[in-house]
């Protein structure tokens, strides 16, 4: 069987301090129920600068400048640590500041819904002209700025959503329909943010891995927003809209949804499509969620910490046919939480971790690194949600002990050796399994590890259609270097061989 491979990965963060205040649901909800709250008053004092966000060790890990192993050397909490000489550009991607991103929102808007004033247009234009991945053609879409009078009128009279920078209104996102709630300004704002951050991730994937965008045949977008109108709320399709901006002229695509589990679902789908020979190159991509900005902000402010959920996340991963070099996606070792699995931790871990291992006759310790819910514990622990990756590793290890593949005494060591500290922002789908794909590819190329498991879990119950949650997993394995085309011999080839043999036999007879 010719397994597909992970050929490259791109990871981006976007620092959006004003969007925490004005677009994060913790803050927008607080403004409705308790507009005079102490939290809302104190929040602006707890926002970090772009430089602080860039030098924050988990963020440098996300864009590939330090490894998860390097991050584990830093003693927690991490928010008071910084990486000296940290850059906004990294091996896997970049961290974009808010003013540039506001410009990018306008660039990706093809319905003239984003209006920016002259000041932010000028700033964004100057900065994006120097951005290595934003072309002149893209910058030209910024055009000239709009008058504040028009922007204020759109906000005050036509229900447009304001865009803030440094706590000042610098533009707005207009509604795309007068009565359709699925095209109102709020939804269009969220969707354009997903599109723009997805585009940035795609551009970084293409650039950092020397990929020709014209070679990409299919794109699967796997974030948690939905685009559509009143007749088809989640009709789609972010995937093709991102492919269009990134110059993937030969690609079509579709959106896959599954809450935080969607990226792993998408990875499995991509690997199957490539392995089956339907497409040679499939990209899975996702942008970030403004709604989740400052989600745990109340606890961070209460504990006198900076509000750490101040970045949007994005990623893109290229899955291609086996090149004999990059790590293979073992589609024969896939785990899944089914309708009948049940919800006990033992049942969940069995379905996601040991069931696929059993198919390959592997032990829990045969996987060098498990990439689970890689949420940054610096964010979750002060909010009382604990250290999510470590909890997952402990459950995996406990099952290992139960299966007698691990001694009880080795449990803490298992967490250290087969686990990693979480480094991804709590952007739902962003931390779920996928942040390690880039590092896994590197570690396998260097021979540091042989196998990794990507695990994604999703809280389906939040959509109120089922009480179930979900999860899927897939094993990533070092490439053996042998490329099995997996074609076998076709009927036509057999007929040809038989005809050839008979012809030769006949010539012998004639000759004799």
């Amino acid at each position: 069987m010719a397994f597909s491979v992970v050929k490259g990965a791109g990871y981006v963060l976007v620092h959006t301090p004003d969007m925490i205040i004005h677009n994060g649901t913790t803050q927008t909800s607080e403004r409705i129920v308790n507009p005079e709250s102490e939290y809302l008053k104190k929040l602006p004092e707890h926002l970090r600068s772009f430089e602080e966000v860039v030098s924050y060790p988990p963020n440098q890990t996300y864009i590939g400048n330090i490894t998860p192993g390097d991050l584990s050397e830093y003693k927690m909490p991490w928010y008071d640590k910084k990486i000296d000489d940290a850059g906004r550009f990294g091996k896997f991607g970049e961290i974009m500041p808010q003013d540039e991103f506001i410009g990018l929102l306008k660039i990706v808007d093809v319905f003239d819904l984003v209006k920016l004033n002259n000041e932010i247009t000028k700033v964004a234009k100057e900065k994006l002209e120097n951005h290595p991945l934003i072309t002149d053609e893209m910058v030209a879409k910024l055009k000239e700025g709009d008058e504040m009078e028009d922007i204020n009128k759109a906000i005050n009279e036509l229900h447009a959503e304001p865009i803030y920078n440094n706590n000042k209104i610098v533009g707005c996102v207009k509604r795309a329909h007068e009565i359709d709630i699925n095209l109102n300004a709020h939804t269009i704002f969220e969707n354009l943010v997903v599109k723009a951050s997805g585009v940035l991730a795609m551009l970084n994937l293409i650039n950092k891995n020397d990929i020709n965008p014209e070679d990409i045949g299919y794109v699967i977008e796997c974030s948690e927003e939905a685009c559509g109108d009143m007749n088809q709320r989640g009709g789609g399709n972010f995937a093709k809209s991102i492919a269009e901006v990134a110059g993937c002229v030969n690609a079509t695509g579709s959106d896959t949804r599954g809450f935080c589990a969607a990226p792993t679902h998408a990875l499995i789908e991509a690997s199957a499509l490539v392995q089956a020979g339907v497409y040679e190159n499939v990209v899975i991509v996702a942008g970030g969620a403004t709604a989740k900005l400052g989600m745990n902000g109340k606890d961070h402010v209460k504990k006198e910490m900076p509000v750490l959920e101040d970045v949007l996340g994005g990623f893109a991963v290229l899955v291609s046919k086996n090149d004999g070099v990059n790590p293979v996606l073992r589609t024969d070792l896939v785990g899944r939480h089914t309708v009948g699995t049940g919800s006990s931790p033992q049942a969940v871990i069995t379905a996601l971790i040991t069931a696929p291992l059993d198919k390959g006759d592997l032990k829990i310790t045969d996987i060098d690194k498990y990439s689970v819910e890689m949420q940054n514990p610096d964010i979750t622990k002060p909010a009382g949600a604990g250290d999510v990756p470590t909890s997952n590793y402990k459950m995996i290890a406990a099952l290992g002990v139960k299966r007698k593949e691990l001694d009880r005494k080795e449990l803490p060591n298992f967490v250290k050796e087969h686990g990693m500290p979480g480094w991804a922002p709590t952007q739902g789908h962003i931390p779920s399994g996928i942040p390690y794909a880039g590092f896994a590819r590197e570690a396998m190329a260097k021979g540091e590890i042989s196998r990794a498991m990507i695990v994604g879990k999703g809280s389906l119950f939040l959509g109120r259609m089922t009480n179930l949650f979900d999860g899927v997993s897939i094993v990533l394995e070092k490439n053996s270097g042998k490329v099995d085309e997996g074609k076998g011999v076709s009927e036509a080839e057999v007929k040809g061989l038989v005809a050839e043999a008979m012809k030769e036999f006949a010539s012998h007879l004639l000759g004799n």
Partner: protein, 43 residues
Amino acid sequence: MGRYDGKKVIIIGDRDGIPGPAIEECLKSTEAEVVFSSTECFV
């Protein structure tokens, strides 16, 4: 008499810990009455 017998129980489970239905299952062997059960996502 068990610890939970005759008690009304509110369950808030954690997706990455012990989900609500799993806690409910554990209480089935008691006389407790589950009046509310949900699973929350804290991330």
